[in-house]
Symmetry: C2
Subunit: 453 residues, 2 copies
């Protein structure tokens, strides 16, 4: 929470306890986002008092600005305490935020609310909820400015003015034919600059960048980022415009995806909420699965070492380099994986570049391996028990081999996963590191067999 907002907290709590109505005047200068920050700090009863005291539209803005879990909790309590008030607030919410909220409510609450809502709004919620998560359909809002291609600019500005209150943005308007087919896009900038009697069809841009309703939300973000759009129209299969995705939604998507990718890279299942809003056991649950998978995978290092027990007994010094060698492979693998996962996310590389990338990473891995083996050589020569040509050969070739292996596996695996339609970020770097641990260990001991025995 911004520090200035925090100062208001005691007064707001006091007002809600004594005379809830007075909170309206107290908070009317606050941005809805700041009010939401304040609200999150109040206890459950005062939160409910706050949303009930506010005018319906302000209550809707407050709910839109709350964090996911807090919003569901508060709205659920509002629906239980006063179903009619909840219906009013829901009707005043932005369609995309409302559909997200309804998707999280209990079946019973949702049914009760939908039955009481205006028919159009109720159907809107159900339609938006039908789109799969993380698609353009689930992200879009259905409130956008549609204009007839034949209208004049003056008439269009009048239309925009009249509908402005309900719209998320009025800066992009869409010219459509009577069937709703998209003809072109016209910005408010163009409308304001054009002569009043010009037809929309003359002012609009007919080549519209748009997405299919089933497109992935990352694709929507990529297009908005690439073309610097304020809004991206969403089309059904018949090329009718069914909604728009605004740039502020994409900013949220980008932040969320970056967080999810970082968490997956760190072998954590993505959290649904912020760190502090995720409970203790929820955090444990998000983390133990990958830890157990990696642990079970790690058991194979023990198996590998056991199968080389004979060699180890003869040359115990081999062991001293084990953690070092396998972690070098894992580190090189982490590097390649993190480069690939981001390059895939922003569309710089594609699975079809597989051969080119793997060859390049092999070459980079060999170069890095040679560099590291020079450092390793120094260490081997320092210890009396490892100071032999055979040992030097074993350690240096193992370092080169393991680093090259790590680089190719780390780069290749995310590409293969994407090709299979899976999320490349789940080949989290610890997973690649563990895989390379086992492979690297076997490589090291095999090289030792070759040179030392």
């Amino acid at each position: 929470m911004e520090n200035v907002t925090r100062l208001l907290l005691p007064d707001v709590a006091e007002a809600l306890r004594n005379d809830p109505r007075s909170v309206v005047e107290l908070t009317e200068e606050l941005h809805p986002v700041d009010l939401a920050d304040l609200c999150a700090e109040l206890d459950d009863g005062l939160q409910l008092a706050l949303v009930r005291a506010l005018p319906v539209v302000d209550g809707a803005r407050l709910l839109e600005a709350l964090e996911r879990q807090e919003r569901v909790d508060l709205f659920g309590r509002l629906a239980t305490a006063a179903l009619d008030a909840a219906v009013d607030v829901a009707e005043a919410m932005a369609p995309d935020e409302r559909a997200d909220l309804f998707g999280e409510l209990s079946e019973d609450t949702r049914t009760a609310l939908l039955a009481k809502m205006e028919r159009a709004e109720s159907r809107d919620v159900q339609q938006l909820l039908a789109y799969p998560e993380d698609t353009a359909g689930a992200l879009m809002t259905t409130n956008f400015v549609a204009l007839s291609g034949e209208a004049t600019c003056a008439r269009a500005i009048e239309d925009v003015r009249r509908s402005a209150a309900e719209m998320e943005t009025i800066y992009e308007a869409y010219a459509v034919d009577p069937h709703g087919t998209l003809l072109g896009v016209v910005s408010l900038r163009d409308l304001v600059l054009a002569k009043a009697d010009k037809a929309i069809a003359e002012v609009m841009q007919p080549n519209v960048i748009s997405v299919d309703v089933e497109a992935d939300q990352e694709e929507c973000a990529r297009l908005i980022a690439k073309y610097d759009l304020l809004a991206l129209p969403v089309m059904d299969r018949a090329r009718r415009i069914v909604g728009i995705i605004t740039v502020d939604d994409v900013v949220d998507v980008l932040q969320d995806e970056a967080t999810e990718d970082a968490q997956k890279l760190g072998a954590v299942e993505p959290l649904e909420d912020s760190y502090f809003n995720t409970g203790f056991w929820a955090l444990v649950k998000k983390r133990y699965k990958w830890l157990v998978i990696l642990f079970v995978g790690g058991l194979f290092t023990g198996t590998a070492m056991k199968s080389f027990a004979g060699e180890l007994r003869l040359v115990p010094a081999l062991l001293l380099m084990v953690p070092l060698i396998i972690s070098s492979g894992g580190n090189a693998g982490s590097q390649s994986a993190s480069l690939m996962i981001r390059a895939l996310a922003v569309g710089e590389v594609r699975p079809r570049d597989f051969a080119r990338i793997v060859l390049r990473e092999l070459a980079i891995g060999l170069a890095l391996g040679v560099l590291l083996s020079v450092v390793g050589l120094g260490r081997v020569l320092l210890w009396p028990e490892t100071r032999s040509t055979a040992f030097v050969l074993t350690v240096c070739s193992a370092i080169v081999g393991v680093v090259a292996l790590g680089a190719t596996v780390g780069a290749g695996l995310p590409l293969v996963l994407r090709r299979l339609g899976l999320d490349p970020a789940v080949s989290s770097t610890p997973f690649i590191a563990s895989l390379v641990d086992v492979l690297g260990l076997v490589m090291y001991f095999e090289l030792a067999r070759l040179f030392l025995f």
Copy 2:
């Protein structure tokens, strides 16, 4: 590049070879971003022919849309071939993009261009270049709509109309007093909706969310994302508005920061360009430093193992669990680090939450460690050489201890780095994993001493 654009490539190249002027008609329907994609595929000579054939404004849009390195190369060649043409294009570019470009040119080229440019534009470039990289000042554009607070809305719309061609956005305008001090913000939406004779002062929003010119670009991104802004005004110390940051710049910042963070998490120094545009040796250079640092750190695992050589000779089976135990600590550390680094990036946690977070992670680490030690127990009981109470105690307590250690170090280190004003993402997860490797190894052998000897 989008596939439709690719189809035009042969025609564009052909036109540039035979009759460069004809390329104007051929490409006039293309979005500047798509034209930039096309341009990047042409060889150097044709790129130059393209930018010279286009009208000056289209040439400026093309340069704005090119990738960093390609832009510098092409503009540098244009300045060498025809300084006057380069001056014209530079004057038509958006101030923020132009300053970024000039910052990358050679000293000589920059001086030659600045000497020939209009005085106002030349000074604008020099002022923007004076702001440190990654600050609001370096990110902002100096073209924004400033209105007098006393003007009427009708007059303001006229002002907006007149200056629209030069402005990056006209959707947010800023009311200022005669000294340039910011009085409030008014959106084009408000202007269009308001009665024509109302004064700006009555329509504007006086509580403006703004940043200081020295603010970090991540702070700018955070504010625009949090408050769903289209533009964020940038103020100097005297509260005069000196520029604005638009949401499309922030979208780019968010993508770049996510990529940089992922690369740092993977122990790669951030690339300046895309993966394929970064040369072989440049990539090796971005990677070898961290690999060597981690390798040298890893040498201590050997030292630790050597100092427990006596114990290892007595109970060789201790070794079988070494890679497993240390990688579990590293994995738990990676998890905590990736959670913290993102939570810090989006402002969910602050360094002052240190004690609360470290205690929480310690508890989570203990819970995860107990879970993993149950799996580890199974393995210990399967191997005849490790099936003893003392061994079980050693391994299980080591797993719990190492995982808890990893979780606390992984969470704590990024917080400490941020507190020191350093970038928390450079405590890359491989670094934390390596640190925990050494600490975990010592812990394991000390526990073995306690229980087994």
